[in-house]
């Protein structure tokens, strides 16, 4: 735990002052200026010989509720102790708050000085979000009394390094699916006839019809052979495409939930609902690191999806710049080709995006053009308090209209609207 040591260069220019004062003192025959130069030299000597404070620190973190419900306020308490035998005159500490959590009360930073054995406590409150959030190591800056040399270290707390639990997917929301090209047995009633539970029609017996489907009562009553047909019930592969690109990380207010977080909430809710209906659900995220989870079923699959959702929140909020990865090459593409390569032929696609740029419209239209049934759920991040923002809102509405015009149904979730409620009441509007 030695960290990096550097001079702060805060007395840069002092040597120039020393030489200037000395020279002027000589030139103007003013001996009184020479001690001024000597003062500067003495300070420079101090800056040369002073040693950086040793990083003798122990950090303890505690949270009031390790498994909070999303939206709960959780108090985080951080205690730092000087376990060395020297005083630390200048100590600045900034806690590594998980990027996706918002601090609602207090401050996650502290400036203090610590005697040997002394402790300082820092307390702040965060608003819990869904998913698991890991605390980053706290950054500590130690300086000497005059602040000319500093040591920077990162300290991991020994406890409470995580907060929250993986998002629950089992009590999610259902959306009416559009697909008819389902192949596997499931619970979705589709148009067509075949095996199933829901009565559809009775038709004339044809050779080869299974005996169990023959309407024997009718045979007894009228002497004719007839076959009963049911609505077939199918399981659909559904791919939830979540727009986690940095460009979508916009929020109506500086401390509000970003559209990416809301899009992920939509996807979580839908995943739960669809999985409960026995559909095979896959997930694709369009973020800086595109991730693909092929449609599947079962607990292990749900677990993977859950991890994916909580990881995506962290990723987007921590490095929004994308750092020149995959997407940076062509921002207008938004991953259309990438998605097209992976989509199973029969899959239905639900895109969860704030629709804040044209690239994602291109993606939606491109997927729809393949004949894949696409629907869009769009959390609205726009507001109307300035002219520019109003323009952004109109542009988004325009995009919504474009998407609808291409035959893709859209659920528009308003800024203050509850996602679960919006999905529950969603009638697809074309």
């Amino acid at each position: 735990m030695s960290g990096t040591v550097k001079r702060t260069e805060r007395w840069r220019g002092l040597s120039a002052a020393a030489l200037l004062a000395g020279a002027l003192g000589l030139l103007t025959w003013t001996p009184a200026l020479l001690p001024v130069a000597a003062l500067a030299v003495a300070l420079l000597a101090y800056g040369r010989v002073v040693a950086p404070p040793a990083a003798t620190l122990a950090l303890t973190r505690s949270v009031s509720d390790p498994d909070p419900e999303p939206g709960d306020t959780v108090t985080v308490q951080l205690t730092i102790e000087n376990v060395g035998d020297r005083t630390l005159p200048e100590l600045r500490l900034v806690d590594g708050v998980p990027p996706a959590l918002r601090v609602v009360d207090g401050a996650p930073s502290l400036g203090t000085s610590l005697r040997p054995g002394g402790t300082a406590t820092l307390s702040y409150a965060v608003e819990a979000a869904s998913g698991v959030h890991e605390f980053q190591p706290a950054t500590v800056l130690l300086r000497d009394a005059a602040g000319v040399v500093e040591r920077r270290i990162e300290i991991e707390a020994d406890e409470a390094t995580e907060i929250g639990e993986p998002p629950r997917l089992d009590d999610g929301q259902r959306l009416p699916l559009r697909a008819a090209n389902a192949r596997y047995a499931g619970r979705q009633t589709v148009d067509g006839s075949g095996d199933g539970l829901t009565f559809r029609t009775i038709r004339e017996y044809q050779r080869g019809d299974p005996l169990s489907r023959v309407d024997w009562r009718r045979r007894a009553r009228t002497g004719q052979l007839a076959t009963v047909e049911f609505h077939p019930e199918r399981s659909l592969p559904v791919v939830l495409v979540v727009d986690t690109r940095p460009v979508a990380a916009v929020a109506p207010t500086p401390d509000g939930e970003t559209a990416v977080e809301r899009s992920l909430s939509v996807a979580e809710a839908l995943f739960g609902g669809l999985a409960a209906d026995d559909h095979r659900v896959g997930v694709a995220t369009l973020g800086p690191e595109r991730t693909w989870l092929a449609p599947g079923r079962g607990r292990a699959h749900e677990q993977r999806a859950r991890e994916l959702f909580s990881r995506s929140v962290e990723q987007v909020t921590s490095d929004g710049d994308g750092e020149g990865r995959d997407t940076a090459a062509d921002p207008t593409d938004a991953g259309r080709g990438w998605l097209r390569e992976r989509l199973p032929g029969t899959a239905e696609v639900i895109v969860s995006t704030p629709l804040v740029d044209d690239a994602v419209v291109g993606l939606i239209e491109g997927v729809a053009a393949l004949g894949t049934p696409v629907s869009v759920v769009s959390p609205d991040p726009t507001v109307e308090n300035t002219a520019g923002r109003t323009l952004a809102r109109y542009e988004r509405r325009d995009r919504l209209a474009d998407v609808r015009a291409s035959g893709v149904p859209v659920v528009d979730v308003g800024a203050g609207e509850d996602i679960e409620r919006a999905l529950a009441t969603a009638g697809w509007s074309r």
Binding site: V5, R7, R10, W11, G13, L14, S15, A17, A18, L19, L20, A21, G22, L24, G25, L26, T28, T30, P31, A32, L33, L34, P35, V36, A37, A38, L39, A40, V41, A42, L43, L44, A45, Y46, G47, R48, P52, P89, E90, L91, R92, V94, V103, G106, A107, P108, S109, L110, G111, T112, S113, A120, L122, L141, R143, D144, A145, A146, G147
Partner: protein, 167 residues
């Protein structure tokens, strides 16, 4: 506890030190004007979080010390003024840094108080070393003055040029 934004205490201390420097160096009209401008620069810079303004203000006060010295101020007075400027400069810039580095609700008074006291102590010690030769009166010889001058320049250069060497 009354909430105090980070850097406020340090900014107040820096302004106080700048006032001391202004009073001590204000010998003659030019020195007073330079000192006043420097004082304003340090105060505004420290409270508004502009490190550049603090440095420019300190430079103004340094100019006041030099002109004050030329105008005939005594060595102890000038050294004290110089020390006060260094304290104002250092603590004032710490105030701007804290303002930028910590959240507005963060607690940092202890750090600021320790830093102000520590910087003052270091400067006081340096000032003591600087003023010591003037107390001891020795008959000056031309060779002695020349040697002292060369030694002073070498020491200053050495302290400056090797400052970023390995530690």
């Amino acid at each position: 506890m009354v909430p105090v934004k980070p850097g406020r205490l340090a900014a107040g201390y820096a302004t106080g030190a700048a006032v001391v420097a202004f009073v001590l160096a204000g010998v003659g009209a030019l020195a007073t004007v330079l000192g006043a401008l420097g004082l304003i620069g340090i105060a505004v810079g420290a409270f508004r979080g502009r490190a550049g303004l603090v440095t420019v203000g300190s430079l103004g006060q340094f100019g006041a010390i030099v002109t004050g010295g030329v105008a005939g101020a005594g060595a102890p007075q000038l050294v004290a003024a110089g020390g006060a400027v260094v304290v104002a400069w250092t603590v004032g810039r710490t105030a701007t840094e804290l303002r930028a580095a910590l959240d507005t609700a963060a607690e940092s008074r202890r750090l600021e108080a320790t830093h102000a006291a520590g910087t003052s102590a270091v400067t006081l010690a340096a000032a003591g070393i600087a003023i010591a030769p003037t107390v001891v009166s020795v008959e000056a010889t031309p060779v002695g003055v020349a040697l002292l001058l060369v030694g002073g320049i070498c020491l200053t250069a050495a302290l400056t040029l090797t400052a970023d060497g390995p530690m």
